[in-house]
């Protein structure tokens, strides 16, 4: 495959079967390897889509400053795109994210403004909205509410899956900004409505939920409940267990959030086996494990590893 530039190579990722972890010949699991994108995560799709839309709308010109609240991957993708297109990037990122994310953002030339660990990404969103109000010349792409985030999956991820696996019955993705699930969900609702859309939501330690009151909770503006069919909450113990199974059984080295997504995919697979249904379940490998080596998720016992993730934004 040949492309004019790195940016042109975003998307078009492989879909690979899981011959060992699939529970039976009739219930099959398929991994969409989004770690094959240029900066190693699914967020390259959303970042590129949001920048192209802002350029088309005349919001960005050479030398512009982009501001974004991000726990990491979106920032890393934006940093790559921004450096190639001539923009400055400022990321508001919670303190409780892995050191590799800071190193990668810095390497691609982004500036980082840390936000308090307590409250997780909610706090990063709040800080970024305040900064945007103080600096009207900065352009906040705002992944949580920008339709171009979901559109990247509506025109890319969804159609790629249907083309590679026309018999697909389920799609399982991670729930963060909700962009992946909203875009793929809308695509299948329109093109193959019998496909069930399953969300895997990371369940963090208590520090992350340390809000002052319930009115300070956060639901991304993109989120439309009608586009998904079930939603699983997955804690670090299950996520780490599954991410290790994925390496041991299938040789796929994935990030921790992928463990949570695989856990939901396997729960769905068990339901299909029990119901005697055949199924082709596609799940997202959101990124590789490289950025999480320092968290210790891949060494020691499961209890030790999940204890180390307590309080961290691991997805």
């Amino acid at each position: 495959m040949r492309f004019d530039s790195l940016i042109d190579s975003v998307g078009g990722t492989p879909l690979v079967g899981l011959p060992t972890l699939s529970p039976s010949a009739d219930v099959r699991l398929w991994a969409k390897l989004e770690d094959h994108n240029p900066t190693g995560s699914i967020k390259d799709r959303a970042a590129l889509s949001m920048v192209l839309k802002a350029e088309a709308e005349g919001l960005l010109e050479p030398g512009s400053t982009i501001l974004e609240p991000t726990s990491g991957n979106t920032g890393i993708s934006l940093a790559m795109v921004a450096s190639l297109r001539g923009y400055k990037l400022i990321c508001v990122m919670p303190e409780n994210t892995s050191i590799e994310r800071t190193q990668l953002l810095t390497m691609w030339g982004a500036e980082i403004i840390p936000s308090p660990a307590a409250g997780g990404s909610n706090e990063a969103v709040r800080v970024a909205k305040r900064l945007a109000a103080e600096h009207p010349d900065w352009v906040m792409l705002y992944q949580y509410g920008n339709p171009a985030n979901a559109d990247a999956h509506y025109v890319g991820t969804g159609p790629e899956i249907l083309a590679d696996l026309p018999e697909v019955t389920h799609f399982v993705g991670g729930l963060g900004t909700t962009g992946t699930l909203m875009g793929v969900g809308r695509f299948f609702r329109e093109h193959k409505p019998e496909v069930r859309i399953v969300a895997a939501e990371p369940r963090y330690g208590e520090l992350v939920y340390g809000l002052r009151n319930l009115d300070e909770g956060f639901v991304p503006e993109l989120y439309d409940e009608s586009l998904i069919d079930s939603r699983f909450s997955v804690g670090p113990h299950d996520a780490v267990r599954r991410v290790r199974e994925l390496i041991a059984a299938e040789g796929i080295f994935a990030g921790i959030s992928t463990g949570a997504i695989l856990h939901a995919a396997l729960a769905q697979a068990s339901k299909c086996v029990k119901a005697g249904e055949s199924a082709d379940i596609v799940f997202v490998v959101a990124d590789g494990g490289w950025k999480y080596l320092s968290t210790g998720a891949y060494e020691g016992t499961l209890d030790e590893a999940s204890d180390r993730l307590d309080g961290q934004l691991w997805a």
């Binding site: 726990s71 990404s121 963090y204 939920y209 002052r212 319930l214 079930s230 909450s233």
Partner: protein, 90 residues
């Protein structure tokens, strides 16, 4: 036997600081009524106009009840119910 309910930090003022309490009922609605009997005031923080509040998520055995029948979702002894505030990812 009973149903284990995990209470988020911000609602533990109603449970004397307990992070896990026991409750009962045949549905989530009944379980919340039982919670209210034991921990007065908690129901109003969870429910508004007979629905789960926007920034509250309730899971039965890790599945969000908004997709399993809402407050009518059945529960049984041995189940685990988790209550969490909605947070951002990404």
């Amino acid at each position: 036997m009973a149903i284990e309910v995990r209470i988020p930090t911000i609602l533990r003022t109603y449970t004397d600081g307990e992070r896990v309490v026991e409750s009962g009922g045949a549905t989530v609605a009944e379980l919340i009524d039982q919670l209210e009997t034991d921990h007065v005031g908690i129901k109003e923080r969870l429910i508004e106009n007979a629905e789960v509040r926007r920034f509250v998520n309730i899971y039965v055995n890790d599945e969000d009840i908004r997709f399993t029948g809402g407050l009518a979702t059945p529960v049984a002894d041995g189940d685990t119910v988790v209550i969490l505030p909605a947070v951002a990812g990404g």
